[in-house]
Symmetry: D3
């Protein structure tokens, strides 16, 4: 069930049977010579939308801009400062909690988001902690590649050249969902370098075409489809477990 294609009355009904909502969250940022700028928010959106076809979960609108300051020297990247990102996550969560949701599940598509999202959750919990009251809701962050079985499958699909940015697995997922937008390019070296992540100037100097440790040419729509199917199935289980959780 997609929240944005529902009426408020339908959400009211859903709340009578579940207090859990899934928010795909990612980033709009360069993904190397062939990856789509939307890769990191498209992947969790694709997986969550697929999952809700097979299970009674509610998927909210996609939070499509994240912590991508290091990619800003590549055009098309849109980034929120961590402080802005935290405020926005806070307002999303307060809104959903106000409606009665008590389990806020963020399915994440961007490794660079993790620290800031966790900090945002702590900021929300801190409000309640200083006030000496229950928060009333719990937040959970899950990277889609950490869903049960997914990284194992990706490792099997891409034993070498997976890397950590513009990976063949994430590109495969978008290829499966957007076959008309499959891109190709010449790039070298075959497998990109790795290293630390700092400001945008430093990043572009280290990673000339934007890739980190990856060979995105290994991606195929078929492999993407396998990943999506597995991830969607694991997502349903993980969401169910989170929804069932009591203190």
């Amino acid at each position: 069930m997609l929240l944005h294609l529902s009426t408020w009355a339908e959400i009211e009904s859903f709340l009578a049977r579940s207090k859990t909502v899934v928010i795909p969250i990612g980033s709009n940022e360069q993904h190397g010579p062939t990856g789509l700028l939307g890769t990191d928010w498209l992947c969790p959106e694709i997986i969550a939308h697929e999952a809700q076809k097979d299970g009674d979960i509610l998927v909210g609108p996609t939070f499509n801009i994240g912590m991508a300051q290091h990619h800003l020297d590549f055009p098309g990247t849109i980034a929120l400062r961590p402080s802005t990102f935290m405020l926005a996550i806070g307002d999303w969560c307060r809104s959903l909690a106000h409606a009665g949701f008590t389990k806020l599940y963020f399915l994440n598509g961007h490794g660079g988001n993790v620290a800031t999202i966790e900090a945002a959750f702590s900021e929300l919990y801190a409000e309640a902690s200083y006030a000496g009251r229950d928060r009333g809701f719990a937040c959970k962050l899950k990277n889609w590649w950490d869903l049960a079985g997914v990284t194992a499958l990706a490792n099997q699909q891409f034993p070498v050249g997976h890397g950590s940015h513009a990976t063949p697995s994430e590109i495969a997922v978008t290829q499966w969902a957007y076959p008309d937008s499959i891109k190709s390019a010449n790039y070298a070296p075959q497998i990109a370098p790795t290293g630390p992540i700092r400001e945008a100037h430093d990043f572009r100097a280290r990673y000339a075409d934007g890739r980190m440790g990856s060979d995105p040419g290994l991606a195929t729509p078929e492999k993407g489809g396998e990943l999506v199917k597995l991830a969607a199935r694991s997502l349903l289980e993980d969401v169910a477990a989170f929804g069932a959780e009591t203190r």
Copy 2:
């Protein structure tokens, strides 16, 4: 051309021929008994995506959450505080300007966003004004119903019962684009009341089913299609004029 389905290199190429980017912006909020929660961000997205099929414009990812605090007592609404909204708009604009865009065109789908978006633009301009320098980019806000001819067509389509929230015109647009998500409901009175907009409690007390002055049952997918076609054509003209603008 859709930014999120492009690579950074494709955006670099686009920048060689245009410095204008279009951002659909709206809100995810209750839209009465039959309107989709996503209506206000779906409408500008639908129109902009349609327009880019016929003209060489670049459409960015949709800014899907806005200033909707007054709708919070209806579940499914997600709102940003104005202060958060302004910070987020600021970061989007700074990111796009950093890439070289000089004309940032926001196609808006939510009346309640207008004041805050204008304030956000002023906040951005103020940075340059205090520093005594050129800003380097210009922002423009356009509501989709203010595109040339659109309100005239809507008035003709819906001579009575258009209203100001959960209007038949916006619902028609989403019906055209999402025919599988057309909803129906009994509601009364036929035309909803009007009045001021304040906090969420006050809003729900005044507008029991969420509509303001409208009779959304007048919407049809066909009328939506007419609105989209006209709006998309006008958008291309308006974007071209903005892009051509010099001081």
Copy 3:
């Protein structure tokens, strides 16, 4: 009744008969070659002070600095960033509401303030909306030229050359109130150009002497007096209507 010339005990008594307070709000910014820097806060102050002589309304101190970033390249302008302006409006409102006022009426003298003041009101309402409680007070913004009959009179007085900044009507109001500070200057063209408002550099490049679309030389103290009398009368009616408003 002027709040700042009253004691707290007198305000306590006033609150027993009315919960409405009027705050003149404006901006301190360049007003062309002959306009006073204080024009935009003086006008609502003049009108409100005049009105309280004839009716039992309470007029608070004048909020004299506003959203004037675009005028900063003309000396004497003092501007608040929108974010600062919103915080300050918030603190004024919280203070007045804490005292028991439930209707906060802002009589505005600067078009550039409108978006930010509306955003500030939404920020205040949002506090209550997220918390799921009544706000306890309502805010209203009224530009003095939107008071009943005022723009009609101005159009009649100044059929051409009224413009939108450093207008003959606002200058006439200050001439009536401060006859010792009437200024004259040579300027050309007779009627200033119009266009968009962006950062200060852009503004000064477009509007060399600060005027927008106006010929302020048309102002006379007599016309100002007529405007003040009418506006004061309309203000009393508008304040009464706001004070009488229930949900």
Copy 4:
């Protein structure tokens, strides 16, 4: 010379002969049973406006709301949080400095403002310090009672019962300037208690009618006039010294 009754061109001319501007700053807060709510902003305004009649100084608009949280339980008080106050002072200073002023002189009327104003100055200096550059302007805070000779005169006028809030000296100043607004009231004890300043509840519990250590009934318009004349003269000297100051 009053900034708000000048044109921008007149300020441009003034800047050719002086880079100093005087800003009266105070608070709008309860001043005991007989004191005006505006006392703390009216006093520096009265003195500065008086001084500019006799010397070529520029006096800006009055900053009329300050750090008065402790008075909030008395109606009519309007307070800025310290953090808001600092941001607003910052924007005033940046605006004036942008115009070319290098000496920003704040004539203060409220003891409760001192810490926050000093913190605001440090915040402004810090911007330059972190950036490793000159600030380009200097800020000075002067309480009107600290102008040369003023406290000595007040001590002579009011050897007992001066106190620290709602003092006979400040009330005398407003009586001289606003003779039509002289108030009287019965109060006891003759001289109010003293003690610490904390939150508003605590304040009202300690100081039932709002006074601290004072007997405001000692005030007369004549004594107020003496104070104003002396303070205005001293202000001219102090502003001249500040303006002449080089590193």
Copy 5:
């Protein structure tokens, strides 16, 4: 009793007999050619740690970074902006108050901290004042040199050359506590100049070696020991008085 060398259960027990906690607070900043960078946080820490050996007070961890923007052009200085400093003080206070402490005593070692700490206290009180409730705790700021008898002793020890920054008294205190870190240097003039404090560039231009009005060479560990003993004794009395205070 040192908080950081206690368990939470021991603090729980302490709270059963006292609600007062002492926080040493200072700054890490240049202290002239011979003074330690930590001087301003070491002094209150030394005194408070000494005092808790002789009396049943609870001393928290040291707040070791403060408002030192003006010293930033001397390496080793670490400064918080006033706005950051206020937020951090706020969080410390809220944490301690949440645990049940009602008297928060800050023993300060840096004159430059005073305004910002007072502003921070007002910010905390303001939260309660706007909300119309008791704050539930009281804050007190005491500079260690203002403890009973301390400045008198310092004046007797250093009748000339005490000055206001990198003073022989504060350096003596650190010499007594850290005899292995006593430094010597040639400097001239014997007594440093005095003047205003503005941004870091201005500060370093005025005070070439960092001293203000002082001759730190007068310091000896013995004099430091005398100061510590007296200050520690006075601290116990002052804390007891604060703890005993009721409205």
Copy 6:
């Protein structure tokens, strides 16, 4: 070399031979029935102070308060909200970078700090990224237990009952350094439960005595000494590697 026991001139000299500074960072929070409240800031301080005896590194003052909102229901805990924590880290880094340090190494003692510290680094980098310039310094976060060999040693020392909060390894480190503050207590179960971390109420309900998964009674000062020696040695190597790093 300890920064706070140095003069600014000594730091200037140090900068001529190294641009790296080490900041111990932790948290002041409950550590179960026997752990010191200061454990998480004492551990990195102990290790860094030990290391600087054997190698030419510069150790700054300890950042002793961190992200500990979840522990607030245990008295003695002092927590910064993530947003405050980020601002403070930002000011520390800007101060040190202003002095010329280009490698800022944070030795962390609290797992709960990690996300927020990483977000703070990103916030700092983002300033440069939006501005299109080099940041000029690099930040590194290292948990002391992640120093080479340390976790392996701890696993060997405490094959069962190590857990994740109030661990025997961290308690052993403080026992070695503060032998006079070794605490004992009865607690049950022997090994504490594990689970998620949310707001303070939830935390205390889950973890009655504050421990998570640990049996702190396994700690001994001797084991602590072994950990400190190894960690100090590894720290010197890690700092050297970071200092030597070029793009």
